[in-house]
Amino acid sequence: MTASATVPAIDWFTSGATPALLGRRCGACGTYHFPPTAAWCANPACRSDRLETVELARRGTVWSYTDARYQPPPPYQPPSGEHVPFAIAAVRLEREGLIILGQVASGYGVDDLSVGTTVEVVTEVLERVEGVDRTVWKWRPVAPLGGGGA
């Protein structure tokens, strides 16, 4: 069962065919939190500790984007061992009122993005540790490749 040796690198998202980021929603005021490590509400007028872990919207719109032409320093490790430039997007989730950073899915670059592009959460391999693929969330444009993004 080597095919099942895939785990999230961090427990901030769900796996499977339709992965979602996990956040925490305040039961008192409705404020969302990401990453889902918040123990109490960040709203200074609330401070409730009744936080519930919830799946965040799978789709959002690009607030801004950039890319990494040079290999970032450790602890970043290129998954294939060799640096391949990748894009990064800051994505706004409307209902949650959050902007969340993530890499853009492999195969997509800045030419496939515009401010306002609709993207959705996917998971890809971050690193392989002792034969186990550890995954991370990424943002993938919803329009197909070559679909007019550039």
Binding site: N43, D67, R69, I88, L126, V136
Partner: protein, 395 residues
């Protein structure tokens, strides 16, 4: 100013990539500031260091490291860390102690020795450290954040890469005659545009380097200052404010913003609120400024600051730049020192260096880059993890 604190002395160790212990730079800057002030080290009653996280334990306790290197004199000591804003926090610690009547004359020092290339987080497995996680999970370097902000200017305000390049060209001319600048060479916009892209849309010459360097100031009460000078330069205000919830700008090094689902964002965003607090405390406004030193980590970020300190309305920074208003000889010269474009960043020293430059400008001691008749100046930057940094100084 009855409640003023005087900048009695300023000093720097030139920025560069010298590769020597940060303490050497700090001592050189401190001695220069003491000489400039005409104050003996033995008369300093409070020492504040800007912490560096890259130089081991000595860097964590930078205040006492400097005090020891200068020769223990019994002064009270503090060390401040606020990332890029560390210097302003250190100045504020000294200033408030003087204002409280607890100190007469204080020395503030920041110094750093930096590695080549990207600033990186501390090593080890640090799964609860947001700074480590943004590198580990996303590979989001500092320039990546600068790229996100630059792209927003292009999208929201119609800025171009040519505008960004023009900021570098301007600052490179400003710094030509600055003896403390690391890069003293005219750079054309064409050269910027021909340099490789690092973090789209920013190129290598749009992004500041990391440098070694040190800066120091001697601050004194009015009473002490009057013994040394008849025309002291005065700190009118220091703003070290934090954001107000929800902070909906994606600030370094965060992976996500606050949520605006339940509470509407404040009318004034974090960056403009830094300057607003400084103006309010000083009883001055952007119209009173003659000169400003802003934190141009990237060329595009300098344009953001024009708007955040109120030199123009949002979206008008490119026009201000193109009109030459922020060049030497213009209406409100910005970064006459050459800015980070000519210095590179030496984190705990940088906000202090900004105050050194404004002090020289207000004294008329900035040959080759002098803003004629400058009487009021402002410095601004923002440190990781919600640290505002703004100092208003007047002649």
């Amino acid at each position: 100013m009855s409640n003023g604190v005087a900048v009695l002395g300023v000093g720097m160790h030139p920025w560069g990539k010298w590769g020597r212990p940060f303490v050497e730079y700090g001592v050189a800057a401190a001695n220069a500031a003491l000489d400039d002030a005409g104050v003996a080290w033995q008369d300093i009653d409070f020492v504040v260091g800007g912490e560096t996280v890259r130089n081991g334990y000595a860097g964590y306790v930078a205040g006492s490291t400097m005090a020891r290197a200068l020769g223990w004199n019994g002064a009270r000591v503090a060390t401040c860390y606020a990332a890029c804003a560390s210097g302003a926090s250190a100045i504020e610690a000294a200033r408030t102690r003087i204002l409280a009547g607890l100190s007469d004359v204080a020395l503030v020092v920041g110094a750093d020795t930096t590695p080549k290339g990207f600033l990186a987080p501390n090593s080890g497995e640090r799964w609860d450290d947001p700074d480590w996680l943004r590198f580990k999970l996303i590979g989001a370097t500092n320039p990546a954040f600068f790229g996100l902000y630059a792209r927003r200017r292009i999208d929201a305000f119609g800025a171009s890469c040519e505008d960004f390049a023009a900021v570098k060209a301007k600052n490179s001319l400003h710094g030509l005659a600055n003896p403390n600048a690391r890069y003293r060479k005219a750079v054309s916009a064409e050269e910027v545009l021909a340099s490789p892209v690092v973090a789209d849309p920013l190129r290598l010459l749009d992004i500041c380097a990391t440098s070694d360097g040190a800066a120091a100031v001697v601050l004194a009460s009015d009473r002490v200052a009057r013994r040394h000078t008849t025309r002291p330069v005065t700190i009118r205000s220091v703003s070290t404010v934090t954001p107000r919830f929800p902070n909906v700008a994606l600030d370094l090094p965060d992976i996500a913003t606050d949520s605006a689902a339940a509470v509407a964002p404040p009318e004034t965003g974090f960056r403009p609120s830094i300057a607003a607090a400084a103006y309010e405390e000083a009883g001055l406004g952007p119209g009173d400024l003659d000169v400003a030193e802003v934190y141009d980590l990237s060329t595009a970020l300098e344009l953001d600051w024009y708007e955040d300190i109120g030199l123009c309305a949002p979206g008008e920074a490119e026009k201000l730049l193109r009109d030459g208003a922020t060049s030497l000889g213009g209406r409100i010269p910005v970064n006459p020192s050459g800015g980070l474009a000519c210095f590179g960043e030496a984190v705990p020293a940088q906000a202090i260096a900004q105050v050194c430059e404004i002090t020289w400008q207000l004294r008329g001691q900035a040959p080759g880059r002098q803003v004629e008749g400058a009487a009021v100046g402002l410095t601004i930057n923002q440190g990781l993890f919600g640290h505002g940094s703004c100092v208003v100084v007047s002649a």
